[in-house]
């Protein structure tokens, strides 16, 4: 049975200084107060988790932070034997592989999203949407396995030789062709982030009011010209989707580790093996027996955390600005 508020607390006939039930829930019901407090505690846990992650990593990275300071970011020597640790090769590998993935993935993702939202008939767009979403359901390690045994040999035989023949004069396509390296890593990342980018772009396009399309069509625009209007309207959201994809690419671990070659070096050539921040953590964490080694790896983790956190936060805000803004104007 629900307990009704007593007249004393409801009308304040006798002044109560503080009622815990009212403090916790506006209804003043005991059950409500307990229920709400419990739920609040769980929600608070999410907040605490983020804080705890930063605190735990920062405290474990202390040793390395003190030892190398800012030089950690600019030194390219990574030598566990001599105890010298610099993050530059990993930062380079992470940035180049992620950018390569974006260059390949963005046009395709936009194409997929435009096709599904603007062009395909409903009975075609439903199943294709599901199939593209399935690409996102494939685990990273499975992409890695496929990358090692299918993609890498394929690139080594049919893609990299012609690239080197035509573009070998640039510094980007020189060196020995092995099928393992930055290029393969970038392509596997591109495949992995395409479903993520296209899913968000789909939401963004769907949030653009239908009146925009009707207006363009009424002015005699072709379908593609209408689509360009829609794309321009969804601009910030699409930017958000791309940044979200970048965040995924930067943090992707297993698949990249399996095909990028794992060598801490900085080379302009995309055919050379490289190393990413996430990969070096995955590979060397269990081997790190010395305190300073482990600390340097945790500091890499801390850098990765802060970067992906900022990227994801920015992306969310951009996407929200479109999906919320348009629903607001539609209501107004």
């Amino acid at each position: 049975m629900p307990t009704l508020p007593t007249p004393t607390s409801a009308y304040g006939a006798r002044v109560r200084a503080w009622d815990w039930r009212r403090a916790l829930s506006p209804t003043g019901n005991t059950g409500d107060a307990v229920f709400r407090a419990a739920l609040f505690g769980c929600a608070l846990l999410v907040l605490l988790l983020v804080g705890a992650m930063i605190a735990a990593m920062a405290s474990n990275a202390r040793l390395s932070l003190r030892e190398f300071g800012f030089g950690f970011l600019t030194s390219s020597e990574w030598n566990p034997v001599s105890g010298q640790f610099g993050a530059l090769p990993f930062i380079y590998g992470t940035i180049v592989s992620s950018l390569l993935a974006l260059v390949i993935s963005v046009p395709i993702s936009l194409g997929v999203a435009v096709f599904l939202v603007e062009q395909a008939p409903r009975r075609l767009s439903r199943p294709i949407t599901f199939l593209v979403e399935l690409l996102a359901a494939i685990p990273s390690v499975v992409y890695g396995l496929w990358g090692i045994f299918v993609l890498a040999p394929l690139l080594r035989q049919y893609v990299e030789p012609p690239l080197q023949k035509w573009l070998g004069w640039t510094p980007f396509f020189q060196g020995t062709i092995t099928g393992i390296g930055l290029f393969t890593g970038g392509i596997i990342l591109a495949i992995m982030i395409t479903p993520i980018i296209s899913a968000v772009v789909r939401d963004v396009l769907a949030a653009v009011p239908v009146t925009q399309r009707e207006a363009a069509l009424a002015l005699g625009a072709t379908r593609w010209e209408t689509t360009r209007v829609v794309l321009a309207n969804g601009g910030p959201g699409i930017a958000g989707a791309i940044i979200l994809g970048l965040g995924r690419a930067i943090g992707e671990t297993m698949a990249v580790t399996m095909v990028i070659g794992n060598r801490a070096q900085i080379s302009a050539s995309l055919f050379e093996p490289s190393y990413t921040i996430a990969s070096v953590i995955a590979n060397e964490f269990t081997e790190a027996t010395e305190a300073i080694y482990l600390s340097a790896l945790v500091e890499l983790g801390l850098i990765l955390f802060l970067v992906t956190f900022i990227i994801n936060a920015a992306a969310r805000l951009l996407v929200w600005s479109v999906t919320r803004g348009t629903s607001g104007t539609a209501r107004a």
């Binding site: 059950g31 419990a38 929600a43 846990l45 096709f115 494939i138 396995l145 930067i250 943090g251 992906t308």
Partner: protein, 277 residues
Amino acid sequence: MPTTHARRYATNAVMTTLTAACAFFAVAVLVLILGYIAYRGLGAISFQFLIETPKPVGEGGGIGNAILGTLILLAMACVVGMPFGIATGIYLAEYGAGRFASLVRFLTDTLTGIPSILVGVFVYTIIVLPMKQFSAMAGGVALAMIMIPIVARTTEEMIRLVPASLREGALALGAPQWRVTTGVVLPAAASGIVTGAMLAVARVSGETAPLLFTAFGSRFFNVYLDQPMASLTVQIYNYAISPYDEWHAQAWAATLILMTLILVINITVRFFTRGKI
């Protein structure tokens, strides 16, 4: 002008074809990957393979302990992660108007984008280091941490779909808020919440990076939570980067098992929620 007209329509035709080609390309990649897994996996799978433990190269062996390990880790992740995830989702949906709730919503969304390997690093520092041992428990907690934000957001969305009239009806009958939520809103949203939970399980079952230095891996059947535990994904990884053809074949077979689990969950969910999500 007719030339402009022709050019505009030609552009339209070209762009329409290109976008369709993009979609076709994405689907083709999916078919290629799944097809190759089926081809290599079916060739290497046997009943023995499903129940035995790993053996040295040349002696066969199987992934029985890895299958059991994955199931135990998933169960543990559900026990730890689901209650928190669902409770956070309910909070966001039912009391989620204020600034605190916006912050939580924002952080859960951001957390889903944090690389899963960092969850492994975090759990390593708070559980493995103090215990001085890799353990299944640490693996379960790591997976639970990945699960919580996913479950929280799907739960919130599902609860928001419950019509306000249901809540108002119950409130009008004199039920307190908590009875309305647990007795009326949750049952109405139950199928959606279960769906979200299943998708979270599918997503987490493929995680490798957070298990590398928490559950670590094991060559034996293990049910003790304070001991290292094998999992399908870590086993696939270890076999894939090994130099032996026999282990590569086993990696494909293990992948077939893992992908079957993931696809069955995804397709079942899709079947039951046609048109709802």
